[in-house]
Each structure stands twice: as structure tokens, then as C-alpha cells.
């Protein structure tokens, strides 16, 4: 098995910062992956047929390196899979994984969870400050 170390700006890196909860992390991976317009275009492109990085790059006004970077992020999120055919690597879409994105409500719920997680922390800080203030007055 190949181990991919998370690099800054990679999907895994962003997600690790995002949420500690592993369930949420998986969702957030996808969320981040498809937030980029080029990556969305790549998804649309390879949905029709498996393609090599060079063939994909021909559709964009960008470098082959940039396309490779996007493909790496999509692969890390398990949204695309690689397949070797001879000397070429073909990228295609993980349809099952894509279906997860269909769960709109889960996404929305995650936003609220993340939001309230932050508020829980904030409120405990605020409560502690208020308590300290009361003690000072006494």
C-alpha cells in the first residue's frame, strides 16, 4: 500500500485542520475537493471516460503539473481512481464516492455541527471569564 503524506493545501491536510472527528473528516474531504472549479471540470471530464493526465491537461489552459496536483487531491479523497494500462495511467471516477456528495442534508448538518462546535468552545471561555469577573468583584 502506498502511503501519502499530507502536504499543505492537499485535501488531507485541509481536512485535518478542519475537524478532528473522523466521520466529518471524510465528508469534508469531498467538500474541499469539489470546491475548486478546475477539479469540478476534471470530474465532469473523466465521468464520461477514463483519461490520462496528458489528455486531461489538453482541456485546460494550465500546466500538466497543475493538473497532476488536482488529480492527486481528488485521488486522496477517493473521488477518482488510477488504473495502469501499459505505460499509461488512466484516471476515472469513483461513482460510489460521488454519490456521497448527493447527501445534501448531511452536508448541511455538518455545517451546523461545525458551527456549534465552535460556539461550545467559545461559550466555555465566556463562562469562565464571567466567573472570574464575579470573583474579582467579591
Amino acid at each position: 500500500m502506498k502511503i501519502n503524506f499530507a502536504k499543505p493545501k492537499s485535501c488531507a491536510y485541509i481536512c485535518n485542520r478542519l475537524v478532528s472527528n473522523s466521520f466529518l473528516k471524510m465528508r469534508r474531504d469531498i467538500f474541499q475537493a469539489i470546491a475548486d472549479p478546475t477539479r469540478r471540470a476534471i470530474i465532469a471530464l473523466i465521468a464520461l471516460q477514463a483519461m490520462t493526465p496528458n489528455a486531461i491537461a489538453e482541456n485546460f489552459h494550465t500546466t500538466r503539473q497543475a493538473v497532476s496536483k488536482h488529480l492527486r487531491i481528488l485521488t486522496e479523497c477517493d473521488l477518482v481512481k488510477q488504473e495502469s494500462r501499459g505505460r499509461e495511467i488512466y484516471y476515472s471516477l469513483e461513482i460510489e464516492k460521488m454519490k456521497e456528495i448527493d447527501e445534501w442534508l448531511q452536508q448541511y448538518r455538518n455545517i451546523w455541527e461545525s458551527r456549534f462546535n465552535q460556539l461550545d468552545t467559545l461559550l466555555s471561555t465566556m463562562s469562565a471569564k464571567k466567573q472570574a469577573h464575579k470573583k474579582q468583584k467579591k
Partner: protein, 170 residues
């Protein structure tokens, strides 16, 4: 999130309503402030890595809040809210709509109702969001529409064509 504290999220598609209930380990006045003061709201309203920035907020009946959700890339998604009813430390209602940077709302929007109650040092907030058009992701993914709505629409179309393709192959 603290698992000891109650959290519930349900959607009634027929009624076009979203219900969010959350219990907080804090006294009511603090929770009320967290929902009604911009300097506190800005610290928690946007889920990471987004940031919330309130341009102005006038928490009175008929008053407005104009704020943006800012993506890590710096893209701003503005929303305009108008407070329609306020019962201090008990309930407030508002109309919410996405807007452009010049405060022009994009209708239809949504109606929000917040109810606060305290019991045994814990405060529960019940939020009801009524969407005029629930099917529109702009309403559901409040503030995340930049790119994301488009993505979802694209994927929706894509998934549909893919599942038809799979059926066709069988």
C-alpha cells in the same frame, strides 16, 4: 461537539422547514449574546475554514445585519438579514436572504425563528428555518453557495446521467 449536549437536526421537506435544536453548557444570557451580538457571532457562525465578517448589525425590530462568509481563497458571500420580531432572551425572528456586495437581496429567502430556554444551567436553542424553495441549495447551504451550489447542480445532473448509463448497461 460535546456529546453530552443535545443536538438534533431534522428536515421536513413537505413543510419546507429545517429544525435545529442544540443544548449549550452555559447560562441563557451568554447564549443569547452569542446569537445577537455581531462581535460574538463573527467568532463562531462560519464553520472552519470559512470566516464570518459583519459589516453592520442593528439588532432591533426592523433593523438589519449585513455580513459575509469568507472562503479560504478570500471569496465573499454576502447575506442580508432583517429582524422581524424580538422578545429579549426568549425569541427572535428574522428574514434571511443572500445578497450582493451592495446589499441587494436575492429572493426568495428564508424565515428564521430562534427560541431560547434555560434549565439547570443549560440553555437550549431551537432554530426553525422556513425556505420558500427547499429544493434550492442556495437556501440549504446558506453562505456556501459560491461555487458549491454550482457544483451540486452539476453533480446532480452528472449523477443522473451516470445512473441512467448504468441502468442502460444492465
Amino acid at each position: 461537539m460535546n456529546n453530552d449536549l443535545f443536538f438534533d437536526f431534522t428536515v421536513d421537506k413537505a413543510a419546507k422547514k429545517v429544525f435545529v435544536t442544540k443544548e449549550f453548557n452555559a447560562e441563557l444570557s451568554l447564549v443569547w449574546d452569542a446569537f445577537t451580538k455581531s462581535e460574538i457571532l463573527d467568532q463562531w457562525w462560519a464553520p472552519e475554514p470559512y470566516k464570518a465578517k459583519t459589516k453592520y448589525m442593528n439588532f432591533t425590530v426592523g433593523g438589519k445585519r449585513f455580513y459575509a462568509m469568507i472562503s479560504p481563497e478570500g471569496k465573499e458571500s454576502w447575506s442580508l438579514q432583517e429582524y422581524t420580531s424580538i422578545t429579549p432572551k426568549t425569541n427572535f425572528k428574522m428574514k434571511n436572504a443572500f445578497a450582493d456586495e451592495n446589499e441587494n437581496p436575492q429572493l426568495p429567502g428564508s424565515d428564521w425563528d430562534h427560541t431560547f430556554s434555560e434549565e439547570g444551567g443549560k440553555t437550549t436553542v431551537k432554530v426553525t428555518i422556513y425556505n420558500e424553495s427547499l429544493t434550492r441549495m442556495e437556501n440549504l447551504l446558506d453562505g456556501f453557495k459560491s461555487g458549491f451550489t454550482q457544483t451540486l447542480e452539476q453533480l446532480d445532473t452528472l449523477l443522473q446521467s451516470l445512473s441512467e448509463k448504468v441502468k442502460g448497461e444492465r
